[in-house]
Symmetry: D2
Subunit: 361 residues, 4 copies
Amino acid sequence: MGSSFGKLFTISTFGESHGGGVGVIIDGCPPRLELDINEIQNDLNRRRPGQSKITTPRNESDEVEILSGLLGNKTLGTPIAMVVRNKDHRPKDYSEIKKTFRPSHADATYQKKYGIQASSGGGRASARETIGRVAAGSVAKQLLTKFAKTEILAWVKRIHDIEAEIHPSEVTFDEIEKNIVRCPNQSAADLMIQRVEAFGKEGDSCGGVIECVVRNPPIGLGMPVFDKLEADLAKALMSLPATKGFEVGSGFGGTYLKGSEHNDPFLPSDSNQLKTATNNSGGIQGGISNGEDIVLRVGFKPTATIRKSQKTIDEDGNAITLKATGRHDPCVLPRAVPMVEAMVALVLADHLLRQRGQCTD
Amino acid sequence: MGSSFGKLFTISTFGESHGGGVGVIIDGCPPRLELDINEIQNDLNRRRPGQSKITTPRNESDEVEILSGLLGNKTLGTPIAMVVRNKDHRPKDYSEIKKTFRPSHADATYQKKYGIQASSGGGRASARETIGRVAAGSVAKQLLTKFAKTEILAWVKRIHDIEAEIHPSEVTFDEIEKNIVRCPNQSAADLMIQRVEAFGKEGDSCGGVIECVVRNPPIGLGMPVFDKLEADLAKALMSLPATKGFEVGSGFGGTYLKGSEHNDPFLPSDSNQLKTATNNSGGIQGGISNGEDIVLRVGFKPTATIRKSQKTIDEDGNAITLKATGRHDPCVLPRAVPMVEAMVALVLADHLLRQRGQCTD
Amino acid sequence: MGSSFGKLFTISTFGESHGGGVGVIIDGCPPRLELDINEIQNDLNRRRPGQSKITTPRNESDEVEILSGLLGNKTLGTPIAMVVRNKDHRPKDYSEIKKTFRPSHADATYQKKYGIQASSGGGRASARETIGRVAAGSVAKQLLTKFAKTEILAWVKRIHDIEAEIHPSEVTFDEIEKNIVRCPNQSAADLMIQRVEAFGKEGDSCGGVIECVVRNPPIGLGMPVFDKLEADLAKALMSLPATKGFEVGSGFGGTYLKGSEHNDPFLPSDSNQLKTATNNSGGIQGGISNGEDIVLRVGFKPTATIRKSQKTIDEDGNAITLKATGRHDPCVLPRAVPMVEAMVALVLADHLLRQRGQCTD
Amino acid sequence: MGSSFGKLFTISTFGESHGGGVGVIIDGCPPRLELDINEIQNDLNRRRPGQSKITTPRNESDEVEILSGLLGNKTLGTPIAMVVRNKDHRPKDYSEIKKTFRPSHADATYQKKYGIQASSGGGRASARETIGRVAAGSVAKQLLTKFAKTEILAWVKRIHDIEAEIHPSEVTFDEIEKNIVRCPNQSAADLMIQRVEAFGKEGDSCGGVIECVVRNPPIGLGMPVFDKLEADLAKALMSLPATKGFEVGSGFGGTYLKGSEHNDPFLPSDSNQLKTATNNSGGIQGGISNGEDIVLRVGFKPTATIRKSQKTIDEDGNAITLKATGRHDPCVLPRAVPMVEAMVALVLADHLLRQRGQCTD
């Protein structure tokens, strides 16, 4: 149903913010893949709450336990189950909210859809659900590295109105991880950190844009006409909490150009590789990867839960004023960077296996 | 595989630009739905090539033949097959192109993926494939009208740098269809038509943005966490040919706001309906429809095939100059309006049945 | 929904007995497969009504038209649509039946499920739907022959109480096709033909068992735990009209043996192939093919529509007597042989692509 | 991939015999279902090893921990994760077997398919994987009871050549659970227990048949043409370990009858319910439930792992003699009864939601 993703490299996730635990099953992972378990934990640590002064202080170690699917650290080809326990959840933080529909949050729509909702925290809408995505995404990244030497990097491009000048083809992982906002342009990062701290203190929040590059993607991934690569990337990224927009290559900006300005001519080459002049295509043409860098951007709204007082209603439609108390992220973007990488990796891993399945000679 | 869409209301499409025909099977349509077959043909006529001076002159009647699934005009609940014959295709138009990789087109990636491609026209990458989407989308629209009085309208919002001032909550179908560019703001429409004609004459092309509103959507649609409504809408729309970006509600623009500015407070109401103040959410919160208008925008690049001379390569990587001759759309947007409506309808129809399946009492 | 089958090599079928036509879309077929189109028509001819004195006299040529997915006779990798027109259908044959619930037929359950049903013939429950299966199955057979030299043969093993002595490892296609009942044991075939003719004259019908062997199946097909090979074969074959039972290898008979009698010891071999002593496993162990012959049997009930007078009810539950007039098969088995081959081929082709997708190095 | 089952009521299972744990995620369960958690544990206890003198002595408590998806004992509509820890596994029991291909077991085919396998126990082929099926099946049973008052009962019908006379319409749960072999015919049960004990002592094993009845099934379940109810039941049951055959209603026996003998006439009735005279159809006609009892039987081979000495090969194809030492079931049938119930319940629950989704008015 709604909590499975992928056709061959399939993940199914479970868990709410204040239940026993969260986790994921990966089904269809190729066998005999030597996994670096620390890598999985590293990515979870990059996603973890309480990691810096500009994220929610909720303190979870998010240690992953792998229950099945491995012989030592080698994949068996059978389902890999990974579980993370919820340790530091404080239900009472949300008691007051329980009866309130927080603006731009999921309380109201979960109630209307299911007629019931988790008693505390965001329930299934909480960012805690992304633990399963990031853990499975880390396995997908290692798979892509083994089979195609593919590298996936994401970073914060803009927070509020502070936009960083960044060249996707040059960014490095270390530059991104060098600061707590995960923006590889240090001067912009400093401004961004100040802005997030300031909004946090005001009891407010802010959003922005995360950019991502896939270097050395396998060529030929994407299944016209509905499972085009950019369509599945759009779905994957727009399924992350708080997303409002997605674009690939030249994106919305490119739609201002004429065909003769926008077209992405192929450059002569004697290798079997395709080379294009502008990569306005963002590495995807006709829904299929052409081998050039895949470049995409995702817009995240400002966090819905803020401490400033807000007008809203309770479950019965009565007007009330809400002053949220719990622990929240003033800005989700720094923790969303590994989530974006994970979802991009999951799409590419699935399409890699589907392409091998259909088109291997 | 890649040519099926939807989990309960499932469509499977087939067909290339220069084969015997194109079409679709709808599987899972509720029974006893009285279909207006003319409505299906109308939508296909709004999509048809050769419909105006600013679309490709290719002359196809695109008459749909329904082979199964109906008793008179009532759905049986079993698969509905709809076929449209290709009549006016001129393979020789493409003979010269056959060996050439047209810039920003699908020739190169289809060749790399499949090691073979249709001898003429865009093959499966041709806009002819959207006939199946629009025919099935029309059935989905009629289903949504019957069960929820839902109305879906799309229009051209911007072409090149001409952006029209339009209020999604006020637009009418007649205003949209009043002009050949399908922009409900007549003064902007006139400018747009001139621009497209001018670029067409230069042998060039242009892109832009289509906006879409869903009025009276059923509440509760969307399946956290991967099949969130905006995630499936993003996939559906980014699977259309020539798309580069997608956004919902406040979109990328909203990510410049603070939480206190962007949040979408619920208004007191004694009805069971949810009312929000700003609809920055675009009718979707926590991945689930809240009943307010769903508002979204899709960016279309300028048509890749232009008559201006272009530098590119042939199948063997050799540098060549291409002057395309065939019949092409200088701007895809006017014909893409019914395609956007269709894909939005297909997502909502599928989620309506999934919501009934899981949450009916 | 219900009319699609397979995860990578996916078929979607459409069509009722008295609509415009029946057909299938194959999505996910590997590219560059040189198809023998005559082979497809041959299999359809082996399925065709009116092929002999012991099948329904309904006269349909069942000529297949391929609308998409091929360049000449080479697969493009994109959806292959195949359509067969209904020509010789006589709606009035069924007028009297329209209001009647024929015993052991689908009239009653279609009415209860959908609240509506095709006005004449079996609608979607008619054997006409198997045209799509057999056409697509023929492509799957050719795929398996190209990639693994796999041969799939089915034959009539028993009709009524006449059981033929047949060794699956020795049967040939020509022996099967030598007589109109498709039983490779000629003496048993003669008795079977007489029996079917006799029952036909009485206005009655009979059933029996079809056996099938897969020689040289690719090793390693089957996906524990739910998509085990015998589970998907059981689903495929029990989805054919009129089936009542399925068994693999030693089948129900093997469950009378002790472990020490039933076990299938591996024989020493220096090749990478697995050899087993008894093949009680029917070529499948732990849900995965071991390379030995896959042997299975399917039980078909006697045709439900008979001309003898029967007590039943009409749509309103009133008792009535039914004397069916239309044209029917006194025994479905001879025409079901190519249907069994097709469904087995479709399961193996899908699992071949899934195995390549997951486990190719 | 292979470890997910169901389209709307979807389960994904994980776990091997000697890993950290086994479990299941249910995705798509209707919200606000009040679950009896003890019922889930009861069914797991009926499946548990070490439950009687005729099952493996392996001592596992199989206590289920529910990590997500519930508010108290009410379903939230979001994924329900259930985990059972492996406590009493003795890897050394299997050390000698590790290099050996046990006859009729999964060692060889897992090695050929994945090129790797769990170091001990049956790995993913172990019956431990059925814990996820039974836990999820118990939720499905409670769902069917709430929505349709459906009752699902399975029992041992035959062990080796001891066949019990049992009328599906009369059996009760208490009669089945009254003895350790779960055969409601006490005299036959006594003989069966002696036989199993005798074979166990000899170091041998035996198989047999489990029969199952579904009383008061919802009418209209089943999706022609590939997801017919009996096709999905056949897949579900033939995916259980050690199964060799499946039949519904009159089964293989019915194929010996003439149409006039086998047909299942409808009886006049003024209720909306369908009543048939013989129920040879086993409650399913045209692939759709008609409301009568669904009756089916599954054949289980004798357990492959026996202590008697056997000829076989090692991983390198060399001839060896195997005398297995571990703890094994001399007969799987008594513990397979709750597995059969679970898989039948999972098929019906999924089809109930699909029928509501498509055909609710």
